[in-house]
C-alpha cells in the first residue's frame, strides 16, 4: 500500500470507471479528481446515471476503478485485493444506503454490532458500542426490534449507527433520504448535522437540494465528470434542519 503525506483524507486522481467495450463503452466515471479534507462534508449531486453513486463506490472500495488512483487516509486503495478492501471497509469507511440494507433477521442492536464483530471486537465490547450508538441516534429503546418493526426513518438511523460503529474515517452516504418521508428526512438530517459538528468526514450523494445545502462543498456531476464545484458557507456552522427549511 502506497502512502502520501498530503492533508486530504480522501483523494481521487484521474479516476475512471468504464463498462462494456468498443461502441458499447460506457464511462460511468470519467477522469474525476477530488480531495476531501478531514472533517469536511461534501455533497455530490447530478442527474440519474451521471456516475455519482459509482464515484461513491469507488471512493469506499466497494468497486474497483478502471483507471486512476484512490487514496484514503494517506493510503492508496485502488490496487488492494478483495480481502484488504473488506478490511478497509470495516475499519475506515462507513456506508449508509438509500434502501438501508439492514439484515432483516437481526435486531437493531445486532445490525449495528455487525461491523464491530466483523472487525474482531469482542461480543461484549461490540454490544456496548452498538447500544451507545443506538442511544445516540435516539433508538436506545428499540434495540431489540427487528427492521420490519421499525419505520423508514428509524431504519435509516440504525444504518447510520452501524456505519459509525467502528469509528470510520469517512462516512459515505448514498441517497440517505431517498426512501424517506419529510419527517424521517428531518430526523436523518439532524443526525448528519450532529456528525458534522462532531467532525465526522461525510460524503453524501443526493438528489435533494435541501441536503446538499447543508454541506461544506457541493460537487455537481454530469456524464461521469465533475462539472461544477461550489463552496457553501453555512454548512459547517448552521443548523442543518433550519437551513433545509424543515424546522424553525
Amino acid at each position: 500500500m502506497s502512502t502520501t503525506t498530503g492533508t486530504s483524507l480522501v483523494r481521487a486522481s484521474g479516476l475512471r470507471k468504464e463498462y462494456g467495450r468498443g461502441t458499447g463503452l460506457l464511462r460511468a466515471v470519467d477522469g474525476v479528481d477530488l480531495d476531501v479534507e478531514r472533517g469536511e462534508t461534501v455533497a455530490v449531486m447530478g442527474p440519474s446515471g451521471c456516475g455519482k453513486s459509482t464515484l461513491l463506490h469507488l471512493l469506499g472500495g466497494l468497486d474497483r476503478p478502471s483507471g486512476g488512483e484512490v487514496w484514503l487516509d494517506g493510503a492508496r486503495i485502488d490496487g488492494l485485493g478483495e480481502k484488504a478492501l473488506a478490511r478497509l471497509r470495516r475499519s475506515a469507511v462507513g456506508f449508509v444506503f438509500q434502501s438501508f440494507h439492514l439484515m432483516e433477521e437481526l435486531t437493531a442492536v445486532e445490525n449495528v454490532e455487525l461491523s464491530a464483530l466483523l472487525a474482531g471486537r469482542s461480543p461484549r465490547e461490540s454490544r456496548r458500542r452498538a447500544a451507545e450508538l443506538l442511544d445516540r441516534v435516539g433508538l436506545g429503546s428499540r434495540a431489540g426490534a427487528l427492521p420490519s418493526e421499525l419505520s423508514g426513518g428509524q431504519r435509516q438511523r440504525v444504518a447510520v449507527a452501524r456505519a459509525l460503529v467502528n469509528e470510520p474515517a469517512v462516512v459515505l452516504a448514498d441517497e440517505p433520504t431517498g426512501n424517506l418521508d419529510s419527517v424521517a428526512t428531518l430526523d436523518v438530517l439532524q443526525l448528519f448535522d450532529d456528525l458534522h459538528r462532531a467532525g465526522q468526514t461525510l460524503i453524501i450523494v443526493t438528489h435533494d437540494a435541501r441536503i446538499a445545502a447543508t454541506a461544506d462543498r457541493l460537487l455537481t456531476m454530469r456524464d461521469g465528470v465533475i462539472v461544477d464545484e461550489t463552496r457553501l458557507t453555512g454548512g459547517s456552522t448552521g443548523r442543518l434542519g433550519a437551513l433545509a427549511g424543515l424546522e424553525d
Binding site: H57, L62, D63, E82, K83, A86, R87, R89, R90, S91, F95, F97, S99, H101, L102, M103, E104, E105, L106, E110, L114, S115, A116, L117, L118, A119, G120, R121, S122, P123, S126, R162, N166
Partner: protein, 600 residues
C-alpha cells in the same frame, strides 16, 4: 470469537427465517443419513443373532460329515479338538404337511444333551419315538408347531417340538451334509439334476431308531476346536469328510441381513447423490435470494472468507442436525429391517451406534453439504459487491441456435426451452435427480418381481417380507426426495426467471403461458431423466447390485415395456403436478414488483 458468534448467529437466524427451505434441506440430507445409518448398523449387527445362538447352543466350530463313522473316527480325538458330539446318523426323506411336500435332512439324535451343539427347544420337547423336532425357521415357513401331525417317508409322525441350532443355517439356507446333493433356490430351466438331490431341504431331528428306519446315508460329527483356525487343516484329500465351518454357516445364516444391508447401502448412495442434486439446486436458489445479503455483508467489511463461512455454516448446521437425526432414526428403525428370523435366537434389533458409524454418517452428511454448497458459496463470496447490493439479475446464457430453433414454437414451449437452456447446470441436476430416482425404481421393480417367485432367491416368505420392507423404504424415500427435488428446482427456476417472466408478461404473454413455460421447463428434463434412468441408469445399477451381492441377474426378469412406459409417463405427470403450484405462483407475481426489484 466475535466473528464466530456472528457467523453462527447469521446462519441460525437465516434458517429460522426460512423454515420451509430449512425443512426441505433437512429432509434431503436426512433421507441419505437415515438410509446410510441403517446400512451400517445392519452390517455391524448382522452376525449378532447367529453368534448369540452359537453361544446359547454350544455351536460347533466344525461340522464334519461322511458316509461311514469310520471316516470320522480319527477326527473326534484329533489334536486341538476340545469337545465333540456325534457321530449322529443322517437320513433324507420327504415331509408332507397340509398338502405340501418338502425335502428334509433328518438327524438321528436321542438326546439334546451334548458338549457341542445342544439345539435349544423353543416349542414343545425333544424327540421321542414317533415324535420329531423341526428346525425353527423350517417350522415357521410351513406353519408347524408342537402337536402337529405330519408324514415323513410315508410314516406318520407328531411334531414333538421346535428347536434352534447353530450347527446349520436356518431354513431355507439349511446347511447340506455329507455326500447328500442339495440345491438351494430354483434349478435352472432344463437342468439335469442328479437323482436324490434335495431341493431346499428343511432340517428335522428324530430318535436314532426312527432315523435308521428311513435309511442312514451319512453321519455327522460336531467339533469344538482349541483354535478355530485349525478347522482349515481338516479340509484335506477328496476322501476326507466334508467339512462345514461355523464361519460358512454364519454367512448363510445371516444372508438376508447381509442382503438387506447391501440394498440399504446402495440406497444410501443413491439418496446421497439425490441429496447432492437437491441441495445444489436449493443452495443455488437460496444464493440467488441472498444476493443482497451477501452484498451487505461485504459492504460492511465481510471478507470473501467470512461471507463463504456464513453461507456454508447454514448448510453444515443442517447437515449436522440431519446426521444426528438420521443416526437416531436409523438405529431406532433398524430392528424392523433386521429381523433375525425364527431360526436364530436373539435379534439384531438392538444394534449399538459405534463411533465409526457415527463418524461415517456425520462425515457423509457434511460432505454432501460441502459438495453442494462450496462452489455457489465461494462464487457468491467472490461476486461484485455493488452488483450484489443492487441484487441484479444474473444475465442469462444465450444460445443462438436455440433461440433460432424455438422461435417458431408456441409461446409456452418457446419459453420452456429458453428457461431450460438459461441454466444448463440446473437442468443437468434435474436430469440427474430424476435419472437416479427412476434408476432406483427400475431396480426395485426387478427385485420385487424376483422376490415374488417362491424360493427364487432362496428366501422364505418371512425373509422376502424383510427384503420387501427394505425395498419399500428405499423406494418411498427416493420418491419423496425426488418430489422435494422437483419442487425445489421449480422454486429456484421461478425465482431465477422472475425478471424474464415479468418481461414476457409485460410483452403480452399470459400468466397461463408463463405457468406452462415454468412447468414445462421441469418436464423436459424429467422426461430425459426418466429415459436415462431406465437405460443406462437402472440397467447399470442392477448389474452393480448383482456384482456386489454375487447374485445371478439372468434369473431376474426385467420390467415389461408397459411398466417402463408407465414409469416414464408417470414421472412426467408427477413432476407436472408437483411443479404446477410453484409455477403458478411464480407466473402470477405482480409484474411491477419483479421489474422494480431489478432496478432497485
Amino acid at each position: 470469537m466475535g466473528r464466530i458468534l456472528l457467523v453462527g448467529r447469521l446462519a441460525l437466524r437465516d434458517l429460522r427465517r426460512r423454515p420451509v427451505e430449512a425443512a426441505l434441506l433437512l429432509l434431503a440430507v436426512l433421507a441419505a443419513t437415515t438410509t446410510l445409518t441403517l446400512g451400517l448398523v445392519l452390517r455391524d449387527s448382522a452376525a449378532a443373532p447367529y453368534e448369540n445362538t452359537r453361544a446359547l447352543t454350544a455351536g460347533p466350530d466344525v461340522v464334519m460329515s461322511a458316509r461311514t463313522t469310520g471316516q470320522l473316527a480319527a477326527y473326534g480325538d484329533a489334536a486341538g479338538v476340545t469337545a465333540r458330539s456325534g457321530p449322529f446318523p443322517v437320513a433324507t426323506s420327504t415331509l408332507a404337511t397340509a398338502g405340501q411336500t418338502v425335502d428334509v435332512l433328518v438327524i438321528g439324535r436321542d438326546t439334546v444333551d451334548a458338549p457341542v451343539d445342544r439345539p435349544q427347544v423353543t416349542d414343545g420337547g425333544w424327540v421321542r419315538d414317533g415324535g420329531m423336532v423341526v428346525e425353527a425357521a423350517f417350522a415357521t415357513a410351513y406353519g408347524l408347531t408342537a402337536g402337529d401331525q405330519v408324514t415323513l417317508g410315508g410314516r406318520a409322525f407328531e411334531v414333538a417340538g421346535v428347536a434352534v441350532t447353530a450347527a446349520s443355517a436356518p431354513f431355507p439356507a439349511t446347511t447340506c451334509l455329507g455326500e447328500i446333493p442339495c440345491l438351494h433356490g430354483v434349478a435352472p430351466a432344463g437342468a439335469d439334476l442328479p437323482p436324490g438331490m434335495l431341493r431346499n431341504p428343511g432340517l428335522v431331528w428324530l430318535t436314532s431308531a426312527d432315523a435308521g428306519r428311513l435309511g442312514v446315508v451319512s453321519y455327522v460329527l460336531n467339533l469344538r476346536l482349541e483354535d478355530p483356525d485349525l478347522a482349515a487343516t481338516f479340509i484335506g484329500s477328496p476322501d476326507a469328510p466334508r467339512v462345514a465351518l461355523s464361519t460358512e454357516i454364519r454367512t448363510d445364516a445371516t444372508e438376508v441381513a447381509g442382503d438387506s444391508q447391501i440394498l440399504l447401502m446402495i440406497g444410501a448412495w443413491l439418496l446421497g447423490l439425490l441429496a447432492v442434486a437437491s441441495l445444489s439446486v436449493l443452495v443455488g436458489g437460496r444464493m440467488a435470494e441472498q444476493t443482497r445479503r451477501v452484498g451487505l455483508l461485504k459492504a460492511v467489511g465481510g471478507t470473501p472468507g467470512v461471507v463463504a463461512a456464513v453461507l456454508l455454516t447454514e448448510y453444515l448446521l443442517v447437515a449436522l442436525v440431519a446426521a444426528a437425526a438420521g443416526l437416531g432414526i436409523g438405529a431406532f428403525t433398524a430392528p424392523l429391517l433386521a429381523d433375525a428370523g425364527a431360526g436364530l435366537l436373539g435379534s439384531a434389533g438392538t444394534p449399538a451406534l459405534s463411533i465409526p458409524v457415527i463418524g461415517t454418517v456425520t462425515g457423509v452428511a457434511l460432505a454432501v453439504a460441502v459438495l453442494a454448497t462450496a462452489v455457489p458459496a465461494w462464487r457468491a463470496a467472490r461476486s461484485s459487491t455493488v452488483a450484489a447490493l443492487a441484487d441484479a439479475a444474473r444475465p442469462p446464457r444465450r444460445s443462438g441456435w436455440l433461440i433460432q430453433a424455438s422461435a417458431r414454437l408456441p409461446v409456452p414451449l418457446l419459453l420452456s426451452l429458453r428457461v431450460t437452456a438459461r441454466r444448463p447446470r440446473r437442468a443437468l441436476l434435474a436430469v440427474a435427480g430424476i435419472a437416479v430416482t427412476v434408476g432406483g425404481v427400475y431396480v426395485a421393480l426387478i427385485l420385487d418381481g424376483f422376490l415374488s417367485k417362491p424360493f427364487a432367491a432362496g428366501y422364505t416368505v418371512a425373509q422376502v417380507e424383510t427384503l420387501r420392507r427394505v425395498l419399500l423404504l428405499w423406494t418411498v424415500i427416493l420418491l419423496v426426495l425426488a418430489g422435494v427435488n422437483a419442487i425445489v428446482i421449480t422454486l429456484a427456476t421461478v425465482l431465477d426467471n422472475r425478471h424474464t417472466a415479468a418481461l414476457a408478461r409485460a410483452l403480452g404473454a399470459t400468466p397461463r403461458d408463463v405457468t406452462a413455460a415454468l412447468s414445462g421447463a421441469q418436464i423436459l428434463p424429467a422426461l430425459a431423466g426418466a429415459v436415462l434412468g431406465i437405460f443406462p441408469g437402472g440397467y447399470l445399477l442392477f448389474e452393480a447390485i448383482m456384482g456386489i451381492t454375487g447374485g445371478d441377474g439372468d434369473r431376474a426378469t426385467p420390467p415389461s415395456a408397459w411398466q417402463l412406459i408407465t414409469v416414464v409417463v408417470m414421472t412426467a405427470l408427477i413432476v407436472a403436478a408437483l411443479t404446477a403450484i410453484p409455477a403458478h405462483l411464480g407466473a402470477h407475481r405482480p409484474v411491477t414488483d419483479s421489474l422494480r426489484a431489478e432496478t432497485a
